[in-house]
C-alpha cells in the first residue's frame, strides 16, 4: 500500500495535516494534528464511538480495529502513521443491518455483560478466524491475550468464538 503524502500546515499553533483513510468501506479525509491517535481520529473526528478506550497502557484491547486486514490497538497507532490504509471498526462488521456471525454468537452465548470490552474482543476474534478457521480453546485463549474483560470470566467469550467458527 502506498502511503499518501501528507502536506502539513500550522493551525492555531498545532501542526495539522490531512488524514485520508478508507473506513468501513467509506473514503474519509480530515485534518488532524500529528499527535492524533487512530482511536481519537475514529471516535472524535469520525464519531465512530464503537471503538472503546479502556486503558492508557496498551493492555486492555477495547480499542482493537483492523488496519489493512490485521488487528491492532488503535490507541497505540497514530492516525498519520496509518494514513492511506483501510480501516474496519466494529461499526463496519454488519451487512445490510444484519449482525456479523461473531456478533450474533456473542449475543446468543452471552459473551458479554457490560459490553465495554466487546468491540475489541469481537474485532480481535474476527481476526483470529481470518487466520485460523478452527481454533482450539487454547488457541482462542492465547489469541485473546491482549483483550481484558472484567465481567464475563471469559468462558462464554471462548464459547462464542467457537460457535462463530462454525458459521463463518
Amino acid at each position: 500500500m502506498i502511503k499518501s503524502y501528507r502536506v502539513r500546515i500550522l493551525i492555531k499553533g498545532e501542526i495539522m495535516g490531512k488524514i485520508s483513510l478508507e473506513v468501513n468501506g467509506r473514503k474519509v479525509e480530515k485534518e488532524a494534528s500529528d499527535n492524533t491517535l487512530l482511536s481519537t481520529f475514529l471516535r472524535e473526528h469520525l464519531q465512530l464511538t464503537g471503538t472503546h478506550i479502556g486503558c492508557d497502557t496498551s493492555q486492555c484491547g477495547a480499542c482493537v480495529v483492523h488496519v489493512d486486514g490485521n488487528s491492532l490497538k488503535s490507541c497505540t497507532a497514530l492516525a498519520a502513521d496509518v494514513n492511506g490504509s483501510k480501516v474496519t471498526t466494529i461499526e463496519g462488521l454488519e451487512t445490510n443491518g444484519k449482525m456479523h456471525p461473531m456478533q450474533e454468537a456473542f449475543k446468543k452465548l452471552h459473551g458479554l455483560q457490560c459490553g465495554f470490552c466487546t468491540p475489541g474482543m469481537v474485532m480481535s476474534a474476527v481476526d483470529l478466524l481470518q487466520k485460523n478457521k478452527k481454533p482450539s480453546d487454547t488457541e482462542i485463549r492465547d489469541w485473546l491475550e491482549g483483550n481484558i474483560c472484567r465481567c464475563t470470566g471469559y468462558q462464554n467469550i471462548v464459547a462464542a468464538v467457537k460457535e462463530a467458527a462454525t458459521k463463518m
Binding site: 499527535n35 484491547g61 482493537v64 488487528s71 497507532a77 497514530l78 481476526d127 491475550e145 491482549g146
Partner: protein
C-alpha cells in the same frame, strides 16, 4: 499527548538526518506511544522508519539469520526460514505480548529500548548477535549497557540484527501473566565452542550467566546446573517476584531450556 512533528523517512540517511536530541524513531510504536501518552517521554519529532524497505525482511545464510530492524514480531514468528534455522527464535517472537503487539512491534525497537524484561535482548546475547547500524557493527556483548541503555548514539539507526545459528537452543520464559513480559527468561544456546546462558528479567539488564555457561560447556546436561545457588544480591525485587525467587527461577528456566534443546 504533547504535540510533535510526525515525519516518515524514506531511507536510513533521511531518518538519521532528521534525528536530533529531542526526537525518537517510530517503529512499532508499542513502547514509544504508551510512554508519550503517560507523559514519561516527550519528543519534538517522531521519525517513522516503517516505510524504509531496506529495514524489513529476513535472510538466512549457512551460518546466520539476519533480520531487518523494522521486521515485526509476527513476521519473525511466522517465518518458515527462521523456524527451520533457529526454532527457538521464532517461538520467542510468538511469545511476545499479544497478537496486536506482535502485529506492530519490531525487533529493532525492542532491542533499542532494552527493557530489562524484554525477550529479544536475551536472544541477541545467546546467539552472539551482531547489531548492524547505519554507522557500524556492534557485538551484542557490548550493545546492552544497562537498564533501558544501549551503545547506540543519538540518531544512530539499527538496520539489522545478525544471529549466529547455534547447534541447539531453547528460550524458556516465566511470563508475567498480565503483560507477558519475562519475570525471568533464559535463552540457552549451544554453539560449537561454548554455551551461552542469557538471562532477562532477573537484573537491571540482560546478561550472560558465566557460572552456568561454564558448567554447561563442560557437560551439556541439566544435571550440571541442578541446585546451583546463584547470587541474588543484584536481582530485581518487585510485586511479581522477590530477588531470591528470581535467582531460583533462573536455574529452573535454564534447566528447562537445556532439557528442551
Amino acid at each position: 499527548m504533547k504535540d510533535f512533528n510526525y515525519h516518515s523517512a524514506k531511507d536510513s540517511k533521511e531518518a538519521s538526518k532528521l534525528a536530533s536530541s529531542s526526537s525518537a524513531f517510530l517503529a512499532g510504536g508499542m513502547t514509544t506511544i504508551p510512554s508519550m501518552k503517560l507523559g514519561l517521554a516527550t519528543y519534538k519529532d517522531l521519525i517513522d522508519i516503517k516505510n524504509i524497505k531496506k529495514l524489513s525482511g529476513i535472510k538466512v545464510s549457512g551460518k546466520s539469520v539476519t533480520i531487518g530492524a523494522a521486521t515485526k514480531h509476527v513476521e519473525v514468528s511466522n517465518s518458515k526460514d527462521v523456524k527451520k534455522a533457529i526454532p527457538s527464535l521464532s517461538s520467542l517472537a510468538e511469545g511476545i505480548g499479544d497478537p496486536q503487539v506482535r502485529n506492530r512491534g519490531t525487533i529493532g525497537g525492542s532491542i533499542a529500548n532494552n527493557d530489562p524484561s524484554a525477550d529479544y535482548p536475551s536472544a541477541c546475547i545467546a546467539l552472539n548477535a551482531t547489531i548492524h547500524t547505519n554507522e557500524r557493527k556492534i557485538e551484542s556483548a557490548k550493545f546492552f549497557k544497562g537498564m533501558f541503555e544501549t551503545a547506540l548514539k543519538k540518531g544512530e539507526l539499527i538496520e539489522a540484527i545478525e544471529f549466529q545459528i547455534p547447534e541447539k537452543s531453547s528460550y524458556q520464559k516465566h511470563p508475567n501473566p498480565a503483560s507477558r513480559y519475562a519475570i525471568v527468561g533464559v535463552y540457552v544456546a549451544k554453539h560449537k565452542g561454548d554455551v551461552n546462558v542469557a538471562v532477562t528479567g532477573a537484573k537491571s539488564c540482560v546478561y550472560n550467566d558465566k557460572e552456568m555457561s561454564k558448567a554447561l560447556s563442560g557437560n551439556f546436561s541439566s544435571s550440571s546446573i541442578d541446585g546451583m545457588d546463584l547470587d541474588s544480591s543484584e536481582m530485581n525485587t518487585d510485586m511479581h517476584a522477590s530477588a531470591e525467587f528470581r535467582a531460583s527461577l533462573v536455574v529452573t528456566q535454564a534447566k528447562k531450556a537445556v532439557d528442551a534443546c
